[in-house]
Symmetry: C2
Subunit: 542 residues, 2 copies
């Protein structure tokens, strides 16, 4: 027997309609690529998103067609979020930090019909447009008079000219909430990038969950600053959740240096900010050097990579700002866990609270998680045992666009590629990447733990721990080390340094001294390349 409640699909167009109707004068403030500050309201976003929808109709694009964006965080990008998805097309946000040939590859793979780009990226488009087979419309996110005369890009039009003649009257189509709304390619550290294809349902459910008090805690009293880019996993869904609750949005544009961010936060009364640790490092550098304080900021969500303990402590103790450690993935829309303490933790000593805050946090309702061993058996939530982290839920990927890579699920769960512990209170902590963990005699050794110890040695400039094949133990860890210039360090000295810091069986079997360890574009060590480099290496006892 079915219930007798009304049947309304969860659609992204409802979010912008709600924001315009209930928070019509709520502000959206953007630092533009041009450098100046642009200011308007949720009612304006709705009007212009409807102009976008009419403009797309005028291009003759069909439902489900992909429209790419190559843009910073700003109001025009926001209009595209609602106008493209609301009208039934798929918003494809592209990461401008990729190499031009990767961008062209992605546009071709997604079969984008149109591409909207900030003028910062004109040189990229000039370089690749001839190789983008499906893109028929190039739209520069600027005023008509800002468009250079001879770009060499056929059919290039300015966004404002494109919208200019369109009506702000538009009736959003109503369709199945499982319809695709937006897509984002993963960074693709191995092989070609693959795309997550989000739906209206997954996006709206994610918005509800992410605004909850124990997650981002968003309300109509907030001014939210997404420093996390709108070109990567929809700025953690903030454009949607802000519309849902009527929060003010503040966009930094391309100016993400400490000074620019700080000035914007103070000028606009920002209460909430979201970003990766490196951004906050720059911000804290600026505030510390200039003895500045935050007058309205109450909390910041930090994700993307593990947040250094010192940063959490500095934000809390020196600035009175709560840091919420979070974890997610492109394949998870992205939010999986956020580290908010429970009532039972309220009276703990500060150092015990800090231990919890360093974890990636608790799952949000809508995300199920478990850790499993090599055989897929679930492991206990004791805060010590670690295993492969698997997740499932309505905003988690079922398969990649075009089925690339085959079925990614294991028994209905998505393997995150992370190794983690989960404690009895449900707080998860990432300990390693699955492909980097060393499996020795049925036990797992965290490569990160081994590296961190080596890094703590005064003679070590950089260290990478990888597993090497072993006839008896399957794998044994070795540590590749770059010595600091002019400093002595022997294999024996470094191995002795591990004494008392890890169990005997976790200690590295060998040390390999190198001139350099391969590093990728985002600053992460490329262990796959290191393994390739050391392919002829043999363990001392193997």
């Amino acid at each position: 027997m079915l219930g007798l409640m009304q049947n309304h699909p969860l659609l992204i167009s409802s979010l912008i309609d709600f924001a315009a109707r209930h928070h019509g004068d709520g502000e959206i403030v953007s630092r533009r690529v041009e450098g100046d500050i642009h200011r308007y309201t949720w009612a304006d976003v709705q009007q212009r998103a409807k102009q976008v929808a009419n403009a797309i109709d005028a291009l003759g694009l069909k439902a489900g067609d992909r429209i790419g964006t190559l843009a910073w965080n700003g109001y025009r990008h926001l209009e595209l979020y609602f106008g493209v998805s609301g009208s039934g097309r798929v918003l494809h946000t592209v990461n401008p930090r990729l190499l031009p040939e990767q961008i062209a590859w992605i546009l071709n793979h997604a079969e984008d019909q149109a591409l909207c780009f900030d003028m910062s990226f004109l040189p990229i488009i000039q370089g690749i447009h001839a190789h983008c087979k499906t893109v028929r419309h190039w739209i520069a996110l600027c005023d008509a008079d800002k468009l250079p005369a001879d770009t060499g890009i056929p059919n290039l039009i300015s966004y404002e000219a494109w919208l200019g003649s369109q009506s702000p009257d538009y009736e959003w189509p109503v369709f199945d909430e499982s319809t695709a709304s937006s897509m984002c390619y993963t960074s693709g550290t191995t092989g070609n990038p693959k795309a997550a294809l989000y739906s209206h349902r997954s996006t709206v459910l994610h918005a509800y969950a992410s605004a909850l008090p124990d997650v981002m805690g968003l309300s109509a009293r907030d001014a939210a600053l997404p420093v996390v880019p709108m070109f990567h996993v929809n700025a953690w869904g903030l454009p949607y959740s802000a519309a849902m609750v009527g929060a003010k949005l503040v966009f930094p544009g391309p100016a993400m240096d400490g000074k620019s961010l700080y000035e914007l936060m103070e000028a606009e009364g920002v209460t909430f900010a979201a970003g990766v640790p490196t951004i906050w490092q720059m911000l804290l550098g600026h505030t510390s050097a200039n003895k500045l304080r935050f007058s309205t900021l109450t909390r910041t969500v930090i994700g993307g990579s593990a947040c250094p303990p010192a940063m959490i402590a500095t934000f809390r103790d020196e600035y009175g700002v709560d840091v919420l450690h979070a974890w997610g993935m492109t394949e998870m829309s992205p939010l999986g866990t956020v580290c908010t303490l429970k009532e039972k933790h309220r009276r703990l000593p500060e150092q015990d609270k800090m231990k919890i805050r360093l974890k990636q946090g608790r799952a949000i309702f809508g995300v199920d998680m478990k850790i499993v061993d090599d055989d897929g058996q679930e492991l206990p939530w004791d805060g010590k045992t670690y295993g492969d982290l698997h997740v499932k839920g309505p905003w988690i990927l079922d398969q990649y666009f075009k089925g690339e890579g085959g079925d990614p699920l294991k028994n209905g769960w998505f393997p995150t590629g992370d190794v983690a512990t989960i404690d009895a209170d449900g707080f998860m902590q990432i300990t390693d990447r699955s492909k980097d963990v060393i499996k020795s005699g049925g036990e797992w050794i965290s490569s990160i733990d081994i590296e961190n110890i080596a890094m703590a040695h005064p003679a070590v400039a950089m260290a990478a721990c990888i597993g090497m094949p072993h006839p008896k133990w399957d794998e044994r860890p070795i540590v590749a080390v770059v010595r600091k210039p002019g400093v002595e360090l022997t294999r024996e000295q470094l191995i002795a340094f591990y004494d008392g810091k890890v169990a005997k069986w976790q200690m590295p079997d060998d040390v390999v001294f190198l001139e350099a360890i391969p590093i990728g574009a985002t600053g992460k060590m490329l262990k796959a390349r290191l393994r390739e480099q050391l392919k002829d290496y043999k363990l001392p006892d193997a």
Copy 2:
């Protein structure tokens, strides 16, 4: 093109599984019918809800079968919430304050197969069981040794004996999220009561929305006390939203006097409470008389009827407790609006904030509302114009159980039966019931406004305003008045009292002095009966 996210239905069983897994040691504290305090955890709720599911299976009940409850707020009722709905049956909560014959009528109409009742209600069941044609299983919510020997009720079993032998292992069935989960009959002021039939989808979406910061703002740091009964619109959904966020739940059982509530709140660290104004009046009476303070309570949601301004002021100014005015209906699961101020209101003078707090508040995302005139034309949101309040959304009724009363919707919107204004910021204020508003010459006059002015006259004990047929104006207001004992008051004096308080055309045409005005069981004036009583009345100029 469909998105490629996982397909997980929104099910009530997921809520209890989530609470048990992530907040397994989170407490549920209940004052029992027996008077003592019972204390256990979300993990226990899950185990016993699964025992309930196995026990229902053992009775041979089918998916969709209705199971009734006649019970106070307490842990066994909570187990039934999850065990009945989670196993695919429909939880039918029945209001024990109805007349026994009404209860029997409702059980028959719902075709309940089983009924679970608190021992407080044994006399009711003894009186009606022979008239309940479909109920085959009577379950008393008590220990086996508390069951009297000769109740006269066939097949009566104690809840604990019923659960006792059942396994706590149970795999929740997975089904369409639109499946019926629970039902609640309206009070039925006109004609027979009609039932809203909620779905798993509507319940889970409502839980997400009601936990948002601008709604109830629930988190794992809260201890929530639902004084609103679980037998009426699921205690405003608190059992579900508390499970979703891992909040502690505190149940008052039948003891809703000021002293019992206060002691429970203090003993259990209650941070959040929800109830109707009369309950809080009793609570404030107790705290005021005994000069008590709330040490943990931060906020209370008040709904069910309009909250007196003095109560909001007392809670805020004397106790430092935020009062959130809310509005909803049985047909709305129930939440429609909650009055939380926006950032723009933060710097307003206190008296201006109070004017906003007296409104029923802003719509939650998921609820669309509008006010319309007699022709169904939408009226402006100016805070002055009033019209019939219509709503729509995924947790709002589409039709009543068994299609009773035909199609209740108008152009896809549910007419609430309330008359309201909505201001430019989206704050809605109920001004009257649709059936009581007086329609005079195309303009509407609020009967409540006219009554409130009369009530402010020192000689008036009670006043009721109703519309009377008029050949030219359709209707004109008259006011029926009960004078205070031994006080003089003439028609002319009272009409003169309206001078300057309302526009000329809104002033009552006549005053009718009565010995008494008919009052219903819940303390509300019965205007239908008053109209019947005055059916031969003629307006002076009609």
